[in-house]
Symmetry: D2
Subunit: 331 residues, 4 copies
Amino acid sequence: MPRFALLGAGFIGSVHAANLAVHPDVTFSLVYDINHARAHSLAAAHGARATTDLDEAFDPHGIDAVFIASSTDTHAQHLVRAAEAGIAVLCEKPIDLDLTHAREASAHAAGHGIPVMVDFNRRFDRDYAELRRIVVDEEIGDVELIQLSTRGPSLPPLSYIATSGGQMRDQTVHFFDLARWISGLDPVEVFATGSALADPRLAEHDDVDTSAVTLRLPTGALVQIDSVRRTGYGYDERIEVLGSTGMIEARRHRTGNVSRYSAGRVVEDGLHAGWFERVRPTYAAALDHFITALGNGTAPAPSLEDGLKAQAIAEAATRSLHTRRTETIDY
Amino acid sequence: MPRFALLGAGFIGSVHAANLAVHPDVTFSLVYDINHARAHSLAAAHGARATTDLDEAFDPHGIDAVFIASSTDTHAQHLVRAAEAGIAVLCEKPIDLDLTHAREASAHAAGHGIPVMVDFNRRFDRDYAELRRIVVDEEIGDVELIQLSTRGPSLPPLSYIATSGGQMRDQTVHFFDLARWISGLDPVEVFATGSALADPRLAEHDDVDTSAVTLRLPTGALVQIDSVRRTGYGYDERIEVLGSTGMIEARRHRTGNVSRYSAGRVVEDGLHAGWFERVRPTYAAALDHFITALGNGTAPAPSLEDGLKAQAIAEAATRSLHTRRTETIDY
Amino acid sequence: MPRFALLGAGFIGSVHAANLAVHPDVTFSLVYDINHARAHSLAAAHGARATTDLDEAFDPHGIDAVFIASSTDTHAQHLVRAAEAGIAVLCEKPIDLDLTHAREASAHAAGHGIPVMVDFNRRFDRDYAELRRIVVDEEIGDVELIQLSTRGPSLPPLSYIATSGGQMRDQTVHFFDLARWISGLDPVEVFATGSALADPRLAEHDDVDTSAVTLRLPTGALVQIDSVRRTGYGYDERIEVLGSTGMIEARRHRTGNVSRYSAGRVVEDGLHAGWFERVRPTYAAALDHFITALGNGTAPAPSLEDGLKAQAIAEAATRSLHTRRTETIDY
Amino acid sequence: MPRFALLGAGFIGSVHAANLAVHPDVTFSLVYDINHARAHSLAAAHGARATTDLDEAFDPHGIDAVFIASSTDTHAQHLVRAAEAGIAVLCEKPIDLDLTHAREASAHAAGHGIPVMVDFNRRFDRDYAELRRIVVDEEIGDVELIQLSTRGPSLPPLSYIATSGGQMRDQTVHFFDLARWISGLDPVEVFATGSALADPRLAEHDDVDTSAVTLRLPTGALVQIDSVRRTGYGYDERIEVLGSTGMIEARRHRTGNVSRYSAGRVVEDGLHAGWFERVRPTYAAALDHFITALGNGTAPAPSLEDGLKAQAIAEAATRSLHTRRTETIDY
């Protein structure tokens, strides 16, 4: 069984730790964090060891795979180091906020031939996987229009926003990946426009919280994405794919199945209060895919290339926000 | 084109008048009512003549068909008279509140060989017809369980209740007919129990406003019907048919398609406020069926026999309300 | 009661004729069409007179209002002539495919002070009206994002396409109007992109059948519209309005309410087969609004100005299809 | 932290073992089963000890609570023995198939004052709890009609059926409990009728697979329950409560949120394939309630009395299946 080191014991690290701890085909060996107390607390909860010494995490005699869940600015260096040690990598997106750096680190890692997977976890959502299967099986003919909505319930802290790289790179990038994955095509052009409506201070960070993106695929098919940071009504994701002979919809999730009928209206359960509740099962499914690929000796996906391509779309979209025109995407 | 006389210019008469007036294959000739002003007003609105003289309505030289929408206690005599005049009949249910009288009048009419249809209009509901088609086409295998809900928004006036014959004969009878029509089978036994919950004064009339009925079909298949006079939340009808290989549902109708999402809930449009809004299209469809049958020389349905059988079930159900045991149905 | 002349006895004219014929507060006097047989046939069906002489239609001694449902290239001249005769006008959109001509004719008509309404019938859809009421009542706070889908089931004939002015002017224009009406704001910028996917021959007419439009409102709020000529799965319209405190949705319509449950799936009724079935009730409602406004002496809406503004957005969107950049809208 | 012994290492025992193993406030000490290999295998998977010696399980120095998940005919004796040892009990239903024996054992246990909970796990379903909260908060006024559906996808093995006590005692009993819990009332009368439609051999065991039950509450309110062993379309549970001022519905669950639109129909995800997938989360929630009650020193519910009352209703319903009449319920 592969022995895993988890890098990063923050919120998302704790999610991955819980999944590593219960996976039957994994040995959860080590938690690394620069914060000693945090590493120890998380490791203890799941029967792993804790360390603040990175050398332990990259020791190929004790570790077969690292899960990079540390702060974004450390991803690239951890990836490179794992590659040099011949250790497999499951990495939170992005490789690096700077696409050029991300490409360099990826090229370096690729040269060492280690298995690497970028954790675009939404690909492992049950509904999205079913939707894609229907497209791939050509049940709706050729893809002509894809619509994706990504809407968070409330604005993240401004401190988070300030270092996030902006809405395209931080939030919409997941849906750039989904658009590629569902269509099997690399978009060629992008138009994006947005506003800071939830909090005008975002404009000071050159960021937006409400945006509309249009992608053009090489076939002429179109993709529309709306990205919203603060809905006020809960966490809302949705995908619709219109093909030449039919349409598929992955509907927004509700928290329950209770309806109240009174004169003039029906009240139903609302949406999830936060993103984590909505996408929770995808983390375990993504991890399971990675572990299965390691076991089978197959290449896990999404790959580093997938990560870089989604990021390239985000770069072009970010440019378009300023130029008010269509931008060509450079992969 | 058949020339129609409408008997009865009350509310339901005015519904039928409007449908007669716009049907392209009918001549709407005459409105009869004992109330002169009412007859004239309705006739004038639709370009028909008015009369208080029944002889005109049953004159075969001027009239080819009568639509009996007068008070219940006149149905049987109008039916007989039309039969004797050789005039076709479309009759509001029931033939007569007394089943024996109803059978006698029906036998008399049948002897004259005129086309007669009982206006169980729900058979002409688009959803119910589609549901039955699926059953008849054996898409769900053998029928095993049918569930029907019939729920009015508010209690009719006590004066109406007092002469209605009770909930089974007045309200549930439509659903006894639907159960027969959908299954193609005559129930053999019935159990009914009920309470006067909306208004305890109904008990003084030996009536109930909330009841549960169970029918057994000759195959052992079961039927459950709930009948409610006052829901407080609108007009609610619903049918579900469970077969050996699948299930079909004719869902309750909503008034619209608007959803409002806010934190914690989704508010949607409610149900119809009253029965008429819900079943309105069925009246025109039923009339059209009758007219088409007249034109084609085929037998319209539901037939007099259908009317009597639904009534026989209602009789047995009414007995069961008192005996607290299963009653055999005598057709 | 106002006496109406209907100009144009084609398909849409016959729809309006049926509504005029049954409206209780109207005298349906005249049907004009250049095709004598067509005018007579339609007039006869509804008890009106027929003519091929335009002078009759614009004779203020016999006619109080004209319903312009003739071919698009005649709208402007009929509008002007009615204005000069002091006759009220209900006009199919657009005033003229050429925006400059449309503005000139409108200015001319406005100078005569007659009541004029442009028949953007979707404003009278029950669901859209309810959705707008919720926005206007500020139940969802400030509008931040509006999404509209307009999708027809199958491509119109190429001959129709060739003279339609293109998808923006012919199809999307209704939704430009809805976006203005719902938000109460005039969009300032538009981006549009599209492809000829259903039939590549549309490209020869410089037209598209699948397009994505993004509007920016003066508040920074955004509007996304997808317009599709051929869905393959039925007629599909939908509006969603995201506000600062909640969201509203006018969902796509289904043809019925029947669900079939079998192992692994639930099959429900589909969408309307065509646009007319979906929007049918809006024509009568729009007509009723116009008649009521005439009776009350109030100004009917949508006004000529509404018609011109929607058209101005369509012009800018059509430009953007070619420039691949944001276009400013000139009203 | 309370130390738990699990009695029974079959399928349902393994479900409880997994929940015991991950609950943070429990020490999962022991697995007892008469089958040594089965006990060891399950214990080893969760870090507990295994035994075939019942004395260990009832040793109050090592065990604070037992989870009785052994075969039904052992429940009563285990309950009594735990009571005598002063050990808390969480017991799978029923206490004993014979109601008299069940009452005797319960009375014995009650005399020792130990905390006892009967595992009617559906009370811990998120939707049912929300539905009941709405009733208890009187948001729909007085309860007037409750409808419950319990429908399994496929017939259990005949060997299981033969020792199950029949459909009322084995399947419907959960819904008798829910009816009491939701309404807060003890039904006074019951009528039941049923058929062996899925497999006629059930009749040889004096059993049914498709049944309709009607309960009368002391207020005159009614309860309708349909119980089906084999739907062919998946696992289907549903509750509806009609009150004097509104109605609530806990809708059937779907496996996903994907819709496919094609000409004429919409295909959606189906129902759960089996009961366990549907009710899975309720087991952990029920266990958590029991543990919390132990910690707080409060009485857990459903109580022994709740278990006996549901069973008493099942007894009377079973009688009614034969007498074809209403039966009074003797608690």
